[in-house]
């Protein structure tokens, strides 16, 4: 009787093993990644589509078997734009054994900078603050920094401006995120960039900007460079439109031409400002879906494949999310192709070698992603867009700001 029981047990165990073995033999490795960002709370208008972009691209990688039988498992947590929650999420990801980390806000990136270096975790934030990469070996900005973007806008207006030194005001977010480019613009002026900064305004939560705009008008301000998020810019544009101050064409005399960096623009700005957004000049390194091209098609197809609504599908922050996921997946793919074990060290090495002939060309950006030991800004190329008939249209060819290098010397 005992022997019969024993035999039955062995047979059941063997059956279970046989059922499990083919699965484990076929199933590949699972690479764990983590993303902590504001899906709700402040800046969630950007964080929400960003999270969807990351999620969709990793699903695409797994569905299309771009890594063979291996899969990416990216846990996405909402931090509500609170550094304390981001820290908690990051610690949880470390416990889970992630090999690559995607972060979001400037504040949390700066706060966790030491942690990233200590645990040697390659990290890509959604913040393009130049201070993020100062003194850090493991943080990689996806695209050109806010400083480079603001300098790029300033260089453009110098090239297009007719007459004496253009008078410029800066409209910035009252935080490290907003203040970042001011110092670098001032350095560029010292290095020879011919603009005059008349005023730097850190906006509050004012519902009316009439006084500020009239003051600028009285000081002959002709250009405003914004480094903040869309809603304050939309408020400013609406007030400027009501006062008849918005330039009909770039640099129009006695009017103001408004320009802005990555997070000031996009379709959300048009939705918020309406007609007042016409002739707003905006720079980013991402493609936009209102400009036909392979990148726009790919972005829309991806969003459609995973059932995203139009708002998310056409968001430049969706492209932003897709791009960081592309870079992470590419680093894994390359490390795998070399036969290396996938861990944070090998992925870090892959990031550092992503340059020259090994540069990466994601479809969602206007230029290649290049990183090296000394270069932690991914896409150096910027594209200028302007709102025409309610859509962002490309203005000129992609460019690389000159003064970003000059002020380093």
């Amino acid at each position: 009787m005992k022997s019969l029981k024993f035999t039955t047990c062995i047979m059941v165990a063997a059956a279970v093993l046989m059922m499990a073995l083919p699965v484990s033999a076929v199933a590949g490795n699972v690479y764990k990644l983590g993303l902590s960002l504001a899906i709700t709370g402040p800046t969630s208008d950007a964080g929400n589509p960003y999270a969807k972009g990351v999620e969709d691209y990793f699903r695409y990688v797994n569905d299309m078997k771009l890594l063979g039988d291996d899969t990416i498992e990216c846990t996405i947590r909402d931090d509500k734009y609170e550094t304390s929650i981001t820290k908690r999420n990051f610690e949880e990801y470390l416990d889970m054994g992630i090999v690559f980390y995607l972060n979001y806000s400037t504040g949390s990136t700066l706060a966790l900078k030491r942690d990233f270096d200590e645990v040697k975790m390659p990290t890509m934030p959604a913040s393009f603050h130049a201070g993020n990469i100062e003194g850090s070996d493991y943080i990689f900005l996806p695209i050109a920094s806010y400083s480079a973007q603001a300098i790029g806008l300033a260089e453009y207006l110098v090239r297009k401006h007719e007459g004496k030194t253009p008078k410029v005001a800066m409209f910035i977010h009252p935080s490290a995120f907003g203040r970042g480019p001011v110092e670098d613009i001032e350095k560029s002026i010292k290095a020879g960039l011919d603009i005059e900064i008349v005023e730097v305004v850190e906006h509050g939560q004012d519902l009316d900007n009439t006084a500020m705009l009239q003051r600028w008008k009285s000081k002959n301000v002709q250009y405003v460079i914004s480094q903040t998020v869309q809603s304050p810019v939309a408020g400013m544009l609406k007030d400027a439109s009501r006062l008849g101050l918005v330039a009909g064409k770039f640099g129009e005399k006695d009017k103001i031409t408004f320009l802005g960096a990555h997070y000031t623009g996009g379709n959300d700005l048009i939705a918020l400002a309406g007609d007042a957004a016409e002739n707003f000049y905006w720079t980013t390194s991402y493609i936009v879906t209102s400009e036909p091209g392979a990148g726009a098609d790919a972005q829309l197809a991806l969003a459609k494949r995973y059932g995203r609504d139009d708002k998310a599908a056409n968001s430049h922050n969706y492209a932003n999310g897709v791009m960081v996921a592309q870079v992470a997946a590419e680093a894994i793919r390359r490390a795998k192709a070399r036969g290396n074990e996938i861990n944070k060290e090998t992925l870090y090495q892959e990031m550092l070698e992503m340059n020259g002939m090994n540069a990466f060309y994601p479809v969602t950006t206007v230029g290649p992603v290049t990183y090296s030991k000394d270069d932690h800004q991914g896409v150096d190329t910027l594209q200028l867009y302007a709102v025409q008939d309610g859509e962002f249209r490309a203005v000129g060819k992609p460019f690389i700001p000159e003064y970003t290098e000059k002020i380093k010397k």
Partner: protein, 364 residues
């Protein structure tokens, strides 16, 4: 009092001295010791994830901060909505000094107990200054005075270069007898430091309430004119309460800075002040045990609401940002419900449970 000090169930006090005992029965003392032992030894048996160690450390920091707020709000009857700013004063005392002398300076890394006490004293100084309006103001007007301090603090930190304009200022890793406390031991180390501080501060508050000052504070809360007529100085009692609240907040802030390895502006905003207020109300105003229950309850609620909001954020369309409102909604709702149905907070449930257990099984 009952001859049997183990199982006394009623009020048998015959002197004021007996009434002022910290533990009314030996059983109370034993239970307290058992709880304390459990808090000290569980890390040897349970391997808690880093995430939850961090949560636990943050709860203990909040307990220290709420000791202070409870002194002002619960025992003193004075409203304060600037408590996070006092915590911030403590954190920035450590962080700004680290910014000036270097984050790896011996004073920061080796002299951290001194730094924590120093930050507490700095908090006390600010508390005394902010408490001065309490000599003349009450109720809504005092609320406005403390709110002003919160606003001034936020503005000062956010705009002055000395405080790195609110950007993160780093604090080096501390050293202990075994050398530098590394990343792997960081949260456990601070758990024990915090636990010891919570116990010391808890006994401090409990003893304070047995002193002349503590009793005068409660008397002033109940009726300041009557207290005045009995020879107490209501104004000084109130200012002293603010000073003490600032001291506890300063200690909590310094420990927060060491735990987070730096200080950033976002941790000490008005939102955090409201959170401390909620912890005090939910825990139980004027109850020492409320200082433990409040922070634990609010942190756990916060975690659960985070999961709910995150889940809602994933399934709701991006244009419909309802999930953003879930957390503040739940937060406000909990405060209102407690104020309406259980104004004495969770501490009262604890009291009811203890009373029930004392009578069980009919110990007369």
């Amino acid at each position: 009092m009952s001859a049997n000090r183990w199982f006394a169930t009623g009020n048998y006090f015959t002197t004021y001295r007996e009434e002022q005992r910290i533990f009314s029965t030996h059983l109370d003392r034993l239970v307290f010791c058992l709880f304390l032992t459990a808090f000290f030894v569980w890390p040897f048996f349970i391997d808690l994830s880093t995430k939850y160690m961090l949560v636990l450390d943050n709860i203990l920091i909040a307990v220290i901060a709420v000791y202070g707020l409870n002194l002002v709000l619960g025992f003193g009857g004075l409203i304060s909505v600037g408590h996070a700013a006092f915590v911030g004063v403590g954190a920035y005392t450590v962080a700004s000094l680290a910014g000036v002398i270097g984050e790896q300076h011996m004073l920061i890394t080796h002299g951290w107990p001194l730094m924590i006490i120093g930050a507490g004293l700095m908090g006390a100084i600010f508390g005394l200054i902010v408490g001065l309006p309490a000599l003349r103001l009450r109720h809504l007007y005092l609320l406005m005075a403390t709110l002003s301090f919160q606003m001034i603090f936020e503005w000062t930190i956010g705009f002055l270069n000395f405080f790195n304009q609110g950007q993160f200022i780093y604090v080096g890793r501390v050293h202990w007898l075994t050398g530098e406390v590394g990343r792997n031991e960081h949260y456990l180390f601070w758990y024990y430091v915090l636990l010891v501080t919570v116990v010391i501060c808890g006994f401090g508050v409990r003893n304070l309430l047995r002193t002349r000052y503590g009793r005068s504070l409660v008397a002033v809360r109940d009726n300041d004119r009557a207290a005045d007529a009995m020879g107490m100085h209501p104004g000084l009692a109130k200012v002293f309460a603010f000073g003490l609240a600032g001291f506890f907040a300063g200690i909590a802030g310094a420990m927060q800075a060491y735990l987070d390895r730096g200080a950033g502006f976002e941790t000490f905003t008005l939102h955090e002040s409201i959170q401390y207020l909620a912890m005090t109300i939910v825990g139980g105003m004027g109850q020492l045990t409320g200082c433990f229950f409040g922070p634990a309850a609010i942190e756990i609620l916060d975690l659960q609401m985070e999961h709910l909001a995150e889940w809602a954020g994933h399934i709701l369309p991006s244009a419909l940002d309802l999930a953003t409102g879930l957390r503040p909604l739940s937060f406000g709702l909990v405060i209102v419900l407690f104020l309406m149905f259980e104004p004495r907070g969770i501490a009262n449930w604890w009291r009811i449970l203890r009373t029930y257990l004392k009578l069980w099984p009919f110990r007369y």
